[in-house]
């Protein structure tokens, strides 16, 4: 549950909804008190209102549920520690239905109707791409947790920022050296034949070549395909590693058929966990993945060397050592991505504090303060690891995890450096007027 009551629904270390509402009710009481009290209240502890553009229904609902839980956990942690500039955060949820047009409507609703301070939390690229123009037009900061390269590419606008999750170009670029050095130098790529697959198609080959390897084949699979055996003969015999980024319901079929095709003598496999986010990695049909490697933004499974910050983050969000909801082992989280919500909210906090943010009149200052940020240290606010922020392209950079599936778990075997994922910026949003 979310919205006003949103940050009260936390599994594990929950903030009691009743307790928190007592706080809200007290605030409401003061808001109707005589004028000077009300003014003083507005200055000191009226909530910062964050409009959460959530995928509550539609194709993104499984991700949306975990983005919401992570958001609630971060808001609780921030509020427990005194909020932002002494003011608590209040989350206002609007469902965009994972629908591009509704996304834009929701941003307008936050700006005009709810009068939130900012808009935050969007995951699906098509919703971000449709919503960003509205955010720019209405001059409301729009913090997305979308992973796509669209923000860094310069095609959004000054009001759209992605400070809490790395983009797919950086992810692809940073895993290439490890693939070439450890999995194999001759790479065959299998990807869905549309924009998401094209990011991998375009960014992996140069990075692999730079690392001394070569992409020997690129096999694009039509998005509506549900059987894949006919494509496997296209995989060259010299292939040492198959780089796969299939998504959608047919992923399990893809893995099973690949296993049936190769038996026990196939090339090594490297995949992106995007394929299997929120899916039990030990599901029937996925046996062939045993021993293969995956990119993970943040590890699904608790690791032996987890920092205290990481442990605290997992407990706060309510995921167990297997990355599933505490007490609901089949509800597997979207761990590789959802940490971005937590970290984005802390970036917003930092930027608001730097800008001495008081209300919507300071929105432009908030954007500038965010752009001025350069580095986030690893710790409770950034449990996934240290980050570097490029204010010109509004994009954060961080290290990536490469995990091996063994014994039914994904164990991190390598962490890339931040430098592994850096690329030449193609834009500078700071030149646009605010």
């Amino acid at each position: 549950m979310t919205d006003r009551k949103g940050f009260f629904d936390l599994s594990g270390n929950r903030l009691s909804r009743r307790t928190a509402l007592k706080g809200l009710a007290a605030g409401a009481g003061l808001a109707v008190a005589p004028g000077f009290v009300r003014y003083a209240q507005a200055q000191s502890s009226e909530p910062i209102r964050i409009g959460f553009q959530a995928h509550r229904t539609g194709i993104g609902a499984a991700y949306g549920r975990w983005y919401e839980r992570t958001t609630n956990a971060a808001v609780k942690a921030i509020n427990d520690a005194g909020g932002i500039n002494g003011r608590p955060i209040e989350i206002i949820v609007e469902d965009d239905g994972t629908d591009a047009a509704r996304g834009a409507e929701v941003v307008a609703k936050f700006a005009n109707q709810h009068k939130t301070d900012i808009v935050y939390g969007t995951l699906f690229s098509h919703v971000v791409i449709a919503s960003a123009p509205t955010a720019g037009e209405l001059k409301i900061p729009y913090y997305v947790v979308s992973e796509g390269y669209h923000v860094a590419s310069g095609k959004m606008n000054r009001w759209c920022l992605q400070p809490g999750i790395t983009d797919v170009r950086a992810q692809v670029t940073s895993v290439a050296p490890w693939i070439a050095a450890n999995a194999g130098k001759k790479v065959t790529m299998i990807f869905p034949d549309y924009a998401f697959g094209y990011d991998h198609r375009d960014y992996l080959p140069p990075a692999i070549e730079k690392a001394g390897g070569k992409v020997v084949a690129q096999i694009a699979i039509p998005p509506t395909e549900s059987s894949f055996t006919k494509y496997f003969p296209q995989i060259p015999a010299e292939t040492e590693v198959i780089y796969h980024v299939m998504v959608g319901p047919a992923v399990l079929t893809f893995v099973k058929e690949l296993g049936d095709f190769y038996g026990s003598n196939g090339p090594k496999l490297f995949g992106f966990i995007d394929s299997l986010e929120a899916v039990d990695i030990n599901s029937p049909g996925l046996e062939y993945l045993d021993g293969s490697h995956f990119w993970e933004g943040s590890p699904r499974y608790a690791q032996a060397g987890d920092s205290e910050a990481e442990k605290a983050y997992r407990a706060a969000v309510g995921i167990d050592d297997n990355g599933a909801a505490v007490g609901d082992a089949k509800d597997v989280s979207t761990a590789a991505h959802m940490f971005g919500c937590w970290e984005t909210l802390y970036v917003i906090k930092k930027a608001m504090e730097d800008a001495s943010y008081k209300g919507p009149q300071d929105r432009a200052k908030l954007v500038e303060a965010t752009e001025a940020l350069t580095e986030f240290a690893e710790g409770p606010e950034h449990p996934q690891g240290k980050k570097v922020f490029n204010g010109k392209i509004h994009q954060v950079f961080g290290s990536q995890n490469i995990s091996k599936l063994e014994g039914g778990k994904l164990n991190v075997v390598h962490k890339t450096t931040i430098e592994d994922g850096l690329y030449e910026p193609e834009a500078d949003y700071t030149t646009q007027p605010l």
Binding site: T2, R17, I59, T134, E277
Partner: protein, 499 residues
């Protein structure tokens, strides 16, 4: 002699049972951007989207587990089961199933006194939910209005109605207020609905409802739904005052018509004040032939839920060049959705009428086509109910939990009215390979059982139409083929790749 059947239900449907004209006697939300802004944004999106990189979160989803199940055998098995049940019936005396299904077990008597109180309470809850829709949480999974209407009422109550009987008769939120209103205004309605209108107003409103549920971009939005549901209540109430409660409930108020249709399948029957137990579908044997509008209404009930499943399949989306892995959302698919909703209705209605017509030709005993179609259309009810079960099962299991939480705190004030405000919603109940297996089996079981019962009901109704065994069996061959095909279609919908 038809078995006795639910008096209320039969009365409700009587108005749909007018002669067929062609067949003879028997025969805002919110402050959204301006239109221009929105158009501009969509144009921009259409232009730039293909050029932009995107992240892909097309969830592997639980359909992925179903894709690995041997669903092909289920499709085959389901088809065989339906065909075999027809053959078994063909070997039995024509009236044998009807005799069995005519058995009744008296239960208890209930007076009508509580009906007014329950309806008024239901209205009060409905009114509170409308208020919650406007002032409660903006989150459709926290606000009790969308969860009550779409999950508890549309997914849940339909099931209860279908399995038990006409509970809606008590829960109806119009009855109580109408009784109070006529107490003040007098019992006479100023106008009469013309007989030729049949149930067409209800059909039109049901179609609008289906469009809102399946095509509208934001049927879950609390304020949008509160506006739609509140307006519908008011308009219906005004119509009941204008034309009378019973006439409008029979011809215009689609929910009551739909619920009473589904209740025909339930195992509890009301005869006067007494409740009796009967076999599932038994009340359908006693149905009277429907006019064209009643037929269309029943066929729309099945076609709309069928389209809901179809519209999410890769097959359907692929026909229109929509990439299901990059699903754009409902707004971009509104035209396709409206087209599909109409198309599935026309195809189903066409196939049904063709099957009945062919059956009449095969029977060759001169039973009028309109009377046959109007009677046999009742056999669609078990199928519609089975589709409903299969289609809404997962939503009911998960969103039903959200509904319990939301109802405890309807206005987001921190209340805990029914002690469920802090319930942890277990989404895992429908997740994973194991859940996918049992959900698939329940869904497939419902689809096959629904069709087998449909064959049984159609057989019983055909026996009424034709009397003799030969006419009964021959008349049912085409309709049975249609039901076999629809079994396969229904199972395919549940097992095909879908978003």
């Amino acid at each position: 002699m038809p078995a006795p059947f639910d008096a209320g239900v039969s009365a409700l449907w009587r108005d749909c049972e007018v002669p067929l004209p062609l067949a003879g006697r028997d025969k805002g939300w919110g402050s959204a951007p301006s239109v221009k802004q929105r158009r501009d944004m969509l144009c921009l999106l259409a232009v730039i989207a293909p050029l932009l990189p995107t992240s892909a979160f097309a969830h592997a989803s639980d359909r992925g587990h179903v894709l690995l199940l041997p669903t092909g055998y289920y499709l085959l098995g389901g088809a065989v089961a339906v065909a075999v049940s027809f053959l078994v019936l063909a070997l039995l005396p024509a009236t044998a199933p009807a005799r069995l299904w005519r058995r009744r077990l008296p239960l208890f008597k209930v007076g009508e006194g509580a009906r007014l109180a329950v309806s008024l309470l239901s209205f009060a809850v409905f009114a509170a939910l409308i208020v919650a829709g406007f002032v409660g949480s903006r989150d459709p999974l926290s606000n009790p209005l969308p969860l009550t209407i779409w999950t508890l009422l549309w997914a849940g109550l339909v099931l209860v109605q279908g399995l038990l009987g006409d509970i809606w008769r008590w829960l109806n939120p119009w009855y109580g207020p109408w009784r109070l209103a006529v107490g003040l205004l007098g019992p006479r309605a100023p106008w009469r609905l013309p007989a030729w209108l049949g149930c067409w107003p209800a059909f039109v409103l049901f179609f609008a409802f289906a469009w809102f549920e399946l095509v509208d971009p934001a049927p879950d939005d609390p304020a949008r739904l509160a506006t739609a549901a509140g307006l519908y209540w008011l308009v219906s109430f005004a119509a009941m005052l204008a034309f009378g409660y019973r006439p409008w409930s029979r011809k215009g108020e689609f929910l009551t018509l739909f619920f009473t249709m589904v209740a025909r399948f339930g195992v509890v029957e009301r005869t006067g004040r007494r409740f009796v137990l009967c076999l599932p579908g038994a009340k359908l044997f006693g149905a009277a032939p429907l006019a064209a509008s009643g037929m269309a209404f029943i066929l729309l009930a099945l076609s709309s839920v069928s389209f809901d499943g179809l519209s999410k399949t890769f097959f359907w989306l692929g026909r229109f060049g929509v990439n299901p892995l990059d699903y754009p959302g409902r707004t971009a698919l509104m035209g396709i959705g409206a087209f599909g909703l109409v198309l599935t209705f026309l195809l189903l209605a066409g196939a049904f009428l063709l099957a009945v017509w062919l059956g009449q030709r095969l029977a060759g005993d001169g039973v009028p086509f309109g009377r046959a179609a109007g009677l046999l259309v009742w056999s669609i009810v078990p199928i519609a109910l089975a589709y409903h079960v299969a289609h809404y099962l997962t939503a009911l299991l998960v969103d039903g939990q959200y509904a319990l939480v939301a109802l405890s705190d309807p206005f987001a004030r921190g209340w805990n009215l029914i002690g469920t405000a802090h319930l942890h919603v277990s989404a895992g109940i429908v997740a994973g390979a194991h859940s996918a297996w049992w959900l698939w089996n329940v869904q497939a079981g419902a689809i096959v059982a629904g069709h087998v019962l449909a064959v049984l009901v159609a057989h019983g109704l055909a026996a009424r139409l034709h009397g003799g065994a030969r006419g009964t069996v021959f008349s049912q061959v085409p309709l049975t083929l249609l039901m076999v095909a629809y079994t396969v279609f229904g199972l395919w919908l549940l097992s095909a790749p879908a978003v």
